[in-house]
Amino acid sequence: MLQVAGIDVAYGHAKVLHDVSLDLEEGKMLFVVGRNGAGKTTLLRTIMGLLRPLKGSIYFDGGDITGLPPEQLYHRGIRYVTQDKKVFGSLTVRENIEIAAYSSGEPLSQALDKVLEIYPKMKDFLNLKAGQLSGGQRQILLIGQAMVGNPRLLLVDEPTQGLAAIVINEIARILKHLKGRLSAVVVEQNLPLVSQLADRVVVLKEGKVTQVLDDASEICNTSLLEKAL
């Protein structure tokens, strides 16, 4: 479904990704792990069309999507949940969902149902300004917003970063709920979560893919994952 083929990406003269390749099958969850500065976020930003690779290509459903702008990728079914947890703070939660529904042409009631399906408690906050939500609630809202329309591939950047354990469990539950329904590339440093949800793990080190783990027994072994970092 998604194929990243040998991409090199640079910020100015500083090369960040070196010949990175990965493959994702329909309905699977691929986790990208690595230390800070390994190039994980850069990889997602490149897939999302925010950066153009110096070399290599990105394919989605067999078509070349290299360098296509984010708005076009959205309508192909690719959603990007950034790590900054930035919702539209001055809008209400309902309006945050409405804005996604308006873009995808999905009726607002249906869009709201999708968000409430993954997080029923959101019903109490619909008329609250999204800026008043906690970090975890914002993250859930962003994932919910990404579910509006017909998403096929979810790109999620560090969904549990800086969140309390109880909220991490909630996000893990939501991601588990989504597993199998759509494909996802998730950047994550929380190794127990990775071992719980991943179908494939790609280890990035200094911009290079150093290891790809496919085997369930390897993925479940967090100490092995830690060693790979």
Partner: protein, 347 residues
């Protein structure tokens, strides 16, 4: 090219659907009440200011409303908005001189001309943001002013301006101040109603999202350049309507209509009332006009008070007067709510 036209068509279609939905869903009674209240405020002003001055106030409010769409809702500060007011005004003047004797047709032509000017300038300026956007618009405004003053002075009258002929046609008589007042008041209410519906629709939510974080809006599948362009054109069109009415209210157009320095007045009125709030734009328009019309009678250096007011807004009341009133209301409502819940608990 074909794709761009198709995409623009889709944006327009989506806009109409969003506005139409809002029109059919939102309370008609509430909107009617709002329009009546605005009308009453202007009627109250007439005995104090006279019909001509009150008409002037209403026209200024239309221009501030158009600017608020651009700045208050979409977050794009322009120092060249008066270009479209000037285009509307001069088109009315020239149309009534050379093309038609019907002022209503001239107004339509003024609106169309401002719309076309907005389409051309917007196609260039919406690609940039921040100070560059403000200054690029100022530059276009300056170009418009230069065209009126110099290369086109044979038809625009240059510095001397252009007196308008054919102010009356059939029952439409713009020589009559009472008629002008009612016509402009009806126009203001129409513009307000349209913008009220427009900004309350999903499109309005989109504009506020662009104001907050344009990049994230792109992640949600929006070609923000197109939406910004449509909004820019709409703001220019409404400003052109204001310009057309200005020309008919004075029976005269001069280069001051598109004087770049006068843009500060629109920005000031919008900030004073509270940007991003249609009522704020109305209130700001009225108060700014009161200040600039009445203070000079009592104080020679009345601009000092404008400066102090602007400083107060920037440092203390970012939401302007209307924003301050909203904050006061929600504070009082919260106090009443907590008071009644305490009372309930003590019982």
């Amino acid at each position: 090219m074909g794709n761009v036209v198709k995409e623009r068509g889709l944006v327009l279609e989506k806009t109409f659907v969003a506005v139409g939905k809002q029109l059919t869903q939102a309370g008609v009674g509430q909107k009617a009440l709002e329009l009546i209240l605005i009308g009453v405020v202007f009627l109250i002003l007439v005995p104090f200011l006279g019909a001509h001055r009150a008409t002037d106030f209403a026209i200024f409010c239309i221009i501030v409303l158009s600017f608020d769409l651009l700045y208050g809702y979409m977050g794009r500060l322009s120092f060249g908005h008066l270009l479209y007011v000037g285009v509307g005004a001069y088109t009315v003047g020239l149309a009534l001189r050379y093309l038609t004797t019907n002022p209503l047709l001239a107004i339509v032509l003024g609106i169309v001309a401002a719309c076309l000017a907005g389409m051309a300038v917007g196609a260039i300026t919406v690609r940039i943001a921040g100070a560059a956007f403000a200054l690029a618009n100022l530059a276009f405004n300056r170009v418009g002013w230069f065209l009126v003053m110099s290369p086109l002075k044979d038809i625009t009258g240059g510095e001397n301006g252009l007196s308008i002929r054919n102010l009356s046609f059939w029952y439409v008589n713009f020589r009559n101040p009472t008629f002008r007042f009612w016509f402009v008041l009806a126009s203001l209410l129409l513009v307000f109603l349209f913008l009220r519906i427009f900004t309350s629709s999903s499109y309005g939510v989109l504009l506020r999202s662009i104001k907050e974080d344009e990049k994230r809006v792109r992640f949600l599948g929006y070609n923000t350049q197109l939406y910004k362009w449509v909004t820019f054109v709409l703001a220019a069109t409404v400003a052109g309507f204001g310009g057309a009415l200005t020309a008919l209210n004075y029976g005269y157009v001069n280069p001051n209509t598109l004087d770049v320095h006068a843009n500060a007045g629109i920005v000031f009125a919008c900030l004073l009332g509270g940007s991003g709030r249609l009522y704020g734009a109305l209130l700001g328009g009225i108060i700014y006009m009161l200040i600039t019309n009445l203070l000079p009678v009592y104080f020679q250096r009345w601009e000092f008070f404008l400066g102090v007011a602007l400083l107060l807004i920037v440092f203390r009341f970012r939401g302007g007067i209307w924003g301050g009133l909203e904050a006061l209301y929600s504070g009082l409502a919260a106090r009443v709510k907590s008071g009644s819940s305490k009372e309930g608990m003590s019982r």
